[in-house]
Amino acid sequence: MSETPSKNEQKPPVGDVSSSSRMQLMLCGGTACVSSGSVKVKAALERELAKHDLTDEVDVVVTGCNGFCAKGPVMVVQPDGIFYQELKEKDIPHLVEEHMLKGRPVEKLMYSPPDKKTAVPTMSEIGFFKKQRLVALRNRGLLDPESIDEYIARDGYKALAKVLSEMTPEEVIDEMIASGLRGRGGGGFPTGIKWKTCRMAAGEPKYVVCNADEGDPGAYMDRSIVEADPHVVLEGMAIAAYAVGSSKGYVYIRHEYPLALKRLQKAMEDAREYGLLGKNIFGKGFDFDISIHFGAGAFVCGESTALMASMEGHVGEPRAKYIHTVDHGLWDRPTNLNNVETYANVPVIILRGTKWFTSIGTGDVSKSPWGGSKGTKVFSLVGKVNNTGLVEVPMGITLREIIFDIGGGIPNGKKFKAVQTGGPSGGVLPESLLDIPVDFDQLTKVGSMMGSGGMIVMDEDDCMVDIARYYIDFLAGESCGKCVPCREGLRQINKMLTDISNGEAEEGVLELLEETAHTVAETSLCALGGSAPNPVLSTLRYFRDEYEAHVREKRCPAGLCKNLVTYSIDPVNCNGCTLCAIKCPQHAITGERKKVHTIDTSLCIKCGICRDVCKQDAVIVK
């Protein structure tokens, strides 16, 4: 209960926005609350406050969604912290007079928990949802992806309407630069600057391309956005096209995403039906249409020049990057390429403005968009983590918060060992780095990268040499073979890593491995080769002792590299249940019931089944 207001009070209230005000009305301006009438409520509040001459003392602040959309429009009165729900225009005169003027909160408008005590927590009490902030995924789970009308009901195509009717292309570009939005596909290049360069580039026609060729193993951010909210991608592309001066767009999407493809096609048909794609959109003289190009699923085709080569019908091979695709891209024309998540951020930035967007994230982008990482990032959180899924978090959150608070920690009571960010060519980071803020620059500094947002968690059973070998094997297979460092270098690195995990490597291999990795990174033609050594270099940097154990002691500390471990049965723990002997596919285990069993190592193929089935923890792997 607030005290009766006193104008002589010196202490500024909590959450002060202007030094003279004593009270803030935090009115929710999220989509749901706007649709349930918060705009009218705001007007009524301002009118009533003016009537009582309270305008200087009480501020009305429109906030982002507070998550309790079911009871909107909602408003929190600070510093009292009183929560009002389901406000209607007609409630406001009474509310202002009672609470704001006389300091008596109006109980009948306050939130009261449901009568029946329920054991079901609210979403904001669940760790997985609590720390997430949905911007690119704002419509996830809320709308029918095959209904353009539902998208429109969630403010869809309003941003496009706004840029076409109120903004020049230059103003759109300036807004994007000021927002500090950086490419979500991995590069982190400021989107606004890319648009500007493309706009200024000579040559007609210009193209906008959406990169939906998500190739990282275990990553599915873009697929999920297209599946859940395909229109946001179309709208983002249309705004980009208006800004750069293009009337033709392409979505490069992989064939392996049939559902995303189907929903995207439906979305395009519906948008054409409404005239939101096609000629003279909204009657504003702007033409734009989109075609889909199917990718065959080559990892390298996520690289901009290889992607465009593939679209032109050539082999998907990159070219030297000193000629930028914004100047000479698709069919040698200026081409703006952004990825799905980047486009999904565009409409919301246009609608809610730079000030709102830059309030989320790290650094300061007021002078240069390179100055920080603004907004949110979607990660696909997979691997040895309890809550695998798709999470969207504000930039600057720590890895620990993502893995332990959102991800719910490591399953089966195992110990956390490492996390890989940035997909196959990202780095592997140890526990000591879990508290760094996640943004473009910090991750690069510690030898990893943001990448497109894959995040793979590893526990104590994962061998770092094996992890590095797995990724290099993947990347060597996906290398297009055009340049020597990537084609041959990765093959040699793969061979060295295989030797190490087989216990066949000799002293000095780690130095050679490091040198080769640096050479590949520095001399490869495109980003695939340039970043491919990251898994090797980062594991060498943070887990060198594990490599040394493989090389010098011929030992795999995680007990994973088959050539370096032997299986045996602990005679103390074994109770002779015979389960392992029954399950062993090689019949390598012998022993009588209720007597200690033994493994014949000459027959054992180290498949690990005995260890998995043993209830006594008696199988020793060393």
Binding site: G30, T31, A32, S35, G64, C65, N66, G67, F68, C69, K71, T118, A119, V120, T122, M123, E125, I126, F128, F129, Q132, R133, L134, L137, R138, R140, G141, L143, D144, S147, D149, E150, A153, D155, Y157, K158, A161, L164, R223, S224, E227, A228, L259, A260, Y274, G275, L276, G278, K279, N280, F282, G283, K284, V348, R352, N386, N387, T388, G389, L390
Partner: protein, 127 residues
């Protein structure tokens, strides 16, 4: 030729809020089955079929059944959100046909949340 004018956006939005938000009338209950790739792989199609069967069997005409994309927590799919008028939406996880039937009978028809299958109620923080 343009077809939609800017002012049409508000009209379409207004019309659709009726079905999207129960606050604005139409149905009494909205059931959303989350059908992203993850949901479908985990069996969301069967859940949808069961929901449709239950709706048909009950003969109720005030139930809106719709689909949506991935709800984020892919490891707990199939998922379904049940929203009864004037109540916070409830997300159910790890569904199978039997659980779906029970949720339909208990929550959709009688308004009692099936606590043991529910993950959470309310909405996520967006924007």
């Amino acid at each position: 030729m343009f077809k939609l004018r800017i002012e049409d956006l508000d009209r379409i939005a207004e019309e659709n809020k009726k079905t999207m938000s129960l606050r604005h009338g139409a149905g009494r209950v909205k059931i959303t089955v989350h059908m992203g790739t993850c949901g479908i792989a985990a069996g969301a199609r069967n859940i949808m079929a069961e929901v449709m069967r239950c709706v048909g069997e009950s003969g109720a005409s005030d139930i809106i059944v719709t689909t949506s994309g991935c709800a984020g927590l892919c490891s707990r799919e199939p998922m379904m959100t049940v929203e009864v008028t004037d109540q916070a939406p409830v997300k159910y996880i790890d569904l199978d046909k039997k659980k779906t039937k029970r949720i339909f009978d208990e929550h959709v028809m009688k308004g009692n949340i099936v606590e043991e299958y529910a993950l959470a109620m309310g909405g996520e923080r967006t924007l």
